[in-house]
């Protein structure tokens, strides 16, 4: 297949100069990203343009080196330094690379060969194993590997000190002007509470944020049920915990999880569960849960 760029360097330059407008896409099926890796021997940053496909919330690339007998230099770099910098279209992000094996490798090879059949030709002509790398963007943290999220697995917890700013800004952003959420003198005069409390949409927001931090930004929360046991007050140290209780592989290429969650706070009389919650979420696999506007969760999971 002929590419419109005379060389890899020209491709990279035009990609950078145009913020991906020239170089990100080729036709309907092919997409390229720029990968900056740290040289395994030199320690210098090296950039390559690679064909990719979205997969499980990240991007997969094939270390084919155009069917040459040896692995590409960037593959050795990633083995030494898996932390990389990506440009995908106009977006730049940090990511972590890992090599796919087994079933995941076979699945992704088929997907990549479907968009670029030359990969099968390369494989037929080389004796080496052609590696596939999964590049996972890092946000606040590296999200969990979706394959590891089976019933019983606990997500890493998050802790936050709930400030007056969080409560008041959350109330303002949701236009909830009940005095409980911003007026401390009113709260002291009219209730037995010791301070202003977090409103319900903000609690939903904190739980939602926890889920997308832990499971990845493409995680789509379709249902979230919260049972409030005691209010969350300004000054509370709040820990959010989550655990997977059900998993369902959807034939459309996404994975469904059901999780239980708690928001717990430390009080003078010990740890208190302030809110119990359950959530149903869709995770990207070979497809994105955002590919359709109205996503239908598995019928057997819908509540009566």
């Amino acid at each position: 297949m002929d590419f419109p760029w005379p060389s890899m360097q020209a491709h990279i330059q035009r990609y950078r100069d145009s913020a991906g407008a020239d170089g990100h896409r080729l036709g309907d099926a092919l997409q390229f990203l720029l990968l900056d890796s740290v040289g395994a021997r030199t320690g210098q940053t090296r950039t390559v343009a690679l064909l990719y496909r979205p997969w499980r919330g990240g991007f997969v690339v094939v270390a084919s080196k155009g069917g040459r007998p040896d692995n590409p230099g960037w593959f050795h770099n990633l083995r030494q330094h898996p932390e990389v910098r990506l440009q995908v279209g106009a977006w730049q992000c940090n990511a972590v690379a890992s090599e796919l094996q087994g079933e995941a490798y076979a699945q992704v090879w088929a997907l990549m060969a479907a968009i670029f059949p030359s990969f099968d030709t390369y494989r037929a002509t080389v004796t080496r194993h052609i590696p596939i790398l999964w590049l996972r963007p890092i946000g606040r943290n590296l999200p969990e590997d979706p394959a590891s999220l089976v019933p019983g697995v606990a997500l890493e917890s998050t802790t936050v000190i709930l400030r007056v700013r969080h409560i008041v800004q959350g109330a303002a952003a949701t236009r909830d002007w009940a005095p409980l959420h911003h007026d401390s003198p009113w709260v002291h005069a009219n209730t037995q509470l010791t301070d202003i409390i977090l409103n319900t949409p903000s609690q939903t927001g904190w739980i939602h944020r926890y889920l997308t931090d832990r499971l990845g930004p493409l995680t789509r929360v379709t249902r979230l049920r919260q049972r409030m046991r005691t209010p969350l007050l300004a000054g509370d140290q709040v820990a959010i915990h989550g655990q997977v209780i059900r998993r369902h592989e959807d034939p459309v290429g996404i994975t469904w999880l059901e999780l239980t969650l708690t928001m717990a706070c430390k009080r003078t009389d010990g740890d208190t569960i302030a809110t119990e919650a359950s959530a149903v979420v869709a995770l990207p696999d070979t497809s994105s849960p955002w590919a359709t506007a109205d996503l239908q969760e598995p019928a057997q999971w819908l509540m009566p």
Binding site: W91, C93, Q169, T174, G205, D213, Q226, W290, L295
Partner: protein, 176 residues
């Protein structure tokens, strides 16, 4: 006497009906949803960066947890002068008044996020009284449980989300 017959006629007429429709005239927009993201310190790039959203195969959208806010008006308008702040779940307050329960709490809320909201969308909220339970007493006082379902619809009538609120309205029991 069954539960329903102990309810005022007005409340019985409301059961299963859309009683309150709230629309704010507020348009979904990025500056407003960024305030919410800041409040909950949400760095999800799908709310912040068009470039990230495109790279990840979607479009920029509003944080789903902010759904109810888009149907809630500002507490002041330059056209009508200062007014009392609109109440977030108006039907809940009307029920409390009708049943003579001055206090109320949210016990449980279930949100269903059906369709993502994009910049430019406008919403209305249809508040439906789904169920009212019998009066009983607990440590808070004497009152009733009720359920209010809120359907959030875009201007083109598409149902974009639902909120099922389990509430308890009550009056304090006087100490003996």
């Amino acid at each position: 006497m069954d539960n329903e017959s102990t309810l005022p006629q007005q409340v019985r007429d409301w059961l299963g009906q859309v009683v309150v429709v709230q629309s704010s005239g507020i348009t979904v927009e990025k500056g407003a949803w960024e305030n919410f993201c800041v409040a909950v310190e949400d760095a999800n790039p799908l709310y912040w960066s068009e470039a990230a959203a495109e790279a990840l195969g979607t479009e920029l959208f509003a944080p789903p947890a902010q759904l109810s806010a888009w149907a809630r008006p500002h507490p002041w308008s330059p056209f009508e002068g200062e007014e009392e702040a609109p109440r977030p779940l108006e039907l809940h307050h009307r029920l409390k008044a009708l049943l003579d329960y001055p206090l109320g709490i949210v016990r449980e809320v279930e949100c269903r996020f059906l369709v993502p909201l994009r910049a430019g969308d406008t919403l209305r909220a249809e508040q439906i009284l789904t169920q009212v339970g019998p009066q009983y007493s607990n440590r808070l006082g004497t009152g009733r449980d009720w359920t209010i379902t809120v359907n959030y619809r875009r201007a083109d009538d598409v149902l974009v989300g639902q909120e099922i609120n389990q509430l308890f309205g009550y009056r304090r029991t006087e100490p003996h």
